[in-house]
């Protein structure tokens, strides 16, 4: 008996050569992608069936929303309204970028609304009430946001309190803090020509700005993809077909130049949109191209695996909450800029819900480990479009809340169903 068993592996020692041959012959179970464009289409279909929907539902949703509002009021797709949507979405969008970092961990931050209010209040009190240089005030507000976030992260990661509870406490505490520093009169108006004021009112009126940005974006996208592809070919690993690259670049070009034309029909490229674009590209780069980003995804997938891989779990968690706090502060500044004031209602109301909804509607999973910061752009476009479309129709806030709530529910349902389909297709 035992002799038989000892023999077996020795027979197998000779096997590698045979096994090597077998792996050269293509395994029929493998989903080898057909080359060229047909391959791209079939890969897309397979992903759809496997529940890997990506951004498709949001893009379709956005088109439907635009079609409905445009049919109700032809001003909806007009340059002015679209421009207003793009500028208005930046405050929520910035905060959404921060919340996506937290959602990738599979956690939540409920304090971002209140923290954004604190940031606006700090800037206003320092620069308006105390006459401090506005740049200094802005930096102080951003630093405060990051420190507050890190503090939440500390209680969560180090002390082990649930993030939900810690940030819920933060929501209340920082709202009180903001009311306290705003003082008795409650509203501080901000100079609309100052640093904060210009965030949402400054436009690059030269038409070259918007077109130039679109051109740079398209060229940079094509070049990075093309050079990446060349390196892959040189290394002898599968690369995307050229046709796919061209198609993707063409789609991006249509979108980018479409938006640029729209901006130029109104006042030109808004500073707010430029800053948001920079943040989106930068955060996407950090998440997908650096080892720090890889650590965040790893924590969202399996904390234990990350720990065993030598990742400093506490440090990453604290830093992610600091990022959320920082972007909350950034959002607060854009919000203050939009209403040209820091007031008592800053950071309250439906802001927090919209921030989280934007991330989730855009396709970030509430279960952690899946999402991109571009999701913030798509989600916030959906939410702001609904708000402005309804406002054009003169439909009151209660209906707005109900519709946004409905959209969020639909998205969460899609997220959960997607997860189930992916589970059954073996890719949760």
């Amino acid at each position: 008996m035992s002799i038989e068993k000892t023999d077996k592996p020795h027979a197998a020692v000779d096997a590698p050569a045979a096994a090597g041959d077998a792996s050269v012959a293509i395994d029929p179970r493998l989903l080898v992608r057909e080359q060229g464009f047909a391959g791209y289409i079939s890969e897309f279909k397979r992903k759809m069936r496997a529940g890997d929907l990506g951004a498709t539902p949001v893009v379709i949703g956005l088109i439907v929303i635009c079609a409905i509002f445009q049919s109700l009021n032809s001003a909806f797709l007009g340059a002015e309204n679209l421009n207003n949507i793009f500028v208005a979405m930046v405050a929520t969008g910035m905060m959404s970028v921060g919340i996506i970092f937290v959602l990738l961990l599979g956690e939540i931050d409920l304090s971002v609304g209140s923290v954004s209010g604190v940031s606006a209040a700090i800037t206003a009190v320092m620069s308006v009430t105390h006459g401090v240089n506005e740049w200094v005030a802005v930096l102080a507000a951003l630093a405060a946001g990051a420190v507050i976030g890190a503090l939440h992260g500390f209680f969560f990661a180090r002390i082990g309190a649930p993030a939900f509870a810690v940030t819920l406490a933060g929501l209340l505490f920082w709202n009180g803090f903001m009311l306290q520093i705003l003082g008795s009169n409650g509203t501080i108006n901000i100079d609309s020509d100052g640093v904060v004021g210009k965030l949402t009112t400054y436009y690059f009126s030269d038409v070259a700005a918007a077109y130039g940005l679109a051109l740079v974006a398209v060229a940079a996208y094509f070049l990075t993809a093309f050079l990446g592809n060349r390196r892959r070919e040189a290394a002898g690993i599968p690369s995307r077909p050229m046709s796919e690259l061209v198609l993707r670049t063409a789609l991006l070009a249509v979108a980018a130049f479409g938006v640029a034309i729209m901006f130029n029909q109104y006042k030109g490229l808004p500073l707010a949109v430029l800053l948001f674009a920079i943040v989106l590209v930068g955060s996407d780069f950090v998440l997908r191209r650096t080892s720090y980003g890889r650590k965040i995804f790893a924590l969202g997938g399996s904390v234990e695996a990350s720990r065993r891989a030598g990742i400093n779990v506490t440090a990453v968690r604290v830093s992610v909450f600091a990022v959320a706090g920082l972007f909350a502060a950034v959002g607060g500044l854009f919000w203050a800029s939009k209403i040209a004031a820091a007031n008592q209602s800053a950071g309250s109301g439906d802001l927090l819900m919209n921030v989280i909804a934007a991330a989730v509607i855009g396709g970030t999973s509430l279960f952690g480990g899946r999402g991109r910061t571009w999701n913030a752009l798509l989600g916030v476009l959906v939410i702001t479009s609904i708000q402005y479309g309804l406002a054009l129709q003169g439909i009151a806030t209660p209906i707005q809340y109900m519709i946004t709530g409905g959209v969020l529910l639909a998205t969460v349902v899609i997220d959960s169903v997607t997860r189930k389909t992916q589970k059954s297709a073996g890719r949760a």
Binding site: T6, A22, A298, G301, S302, R307, R308, G310
Partner: protein, 263 residues
Amino acid sequence: MVHVSATPVLALRGVSKRFGAVQALTDVELEVHAGEVVALVGDNGAGKSTLVKTIAGVHPIDEGVIEWDGKAVAVNKPHDAQNLGIATVYQDLALCDNIDVVGNLFLGRELKRRGVLDEVEMERRSRELLETLSIRIPSVRIPIASLSGGQRQVVAIARSMLGEPKLVILDEPTAALGVEQTAQVLDLVERLRERGHAVILISHNMADVKAVADKVAVLRLGRNNGVFEVKTTSQEEIISAITGATDNAVTRRAARSNAEAQK
């Protein structure tokens, strides 16, 4: 016998580990030499996985000494063990479901090019590695979640082979594998030994143990229960040490005198 160096690569001296009220390990001794495969066996809950995790720095030891190349070292976190050259495949594989095969292979030691993740080089090396291990998976770019249990197992094993470790610890590596994959893993263990690596192999399968191990260390209820030379010990003797059916001192004596008689 494979010749082994005098100083063990890894030696545990009187290692103990408690989890609250559970005394998982008590005064455990273990030696592993370069070019040697030591099988660690024992019943369920004997403390094998716990021992592995103390060596790998997942659970720091409470008492005792861990010696590396004859010198006492502190292994308090996974990085300490990695820096020494210990690679571990855990029983609960510890892979990230949402990250693709390449990402998991390089998790925690990503290759970078000008500060940016070098996906191309990582993918190339992953393919190379999986090829040399004759591992077949659909694509190195699909998330771990879409792999079968056995495929995950081989990915976890491949992960431990990156970066030329001195000691490889495999906690029940063949538990989820088919006949052919099991043979491949056993091959792999033999290749590691030939290349002069030290290997700790945990397995419930006596046939596998007898096939590749040089020595068998038995754990029972968190304590040592004998170390046997595989060549000279019968399966029955090992099994009785595992279950505690016979007096362990007698078994050990028998094994020793048996070994001398053979020389």
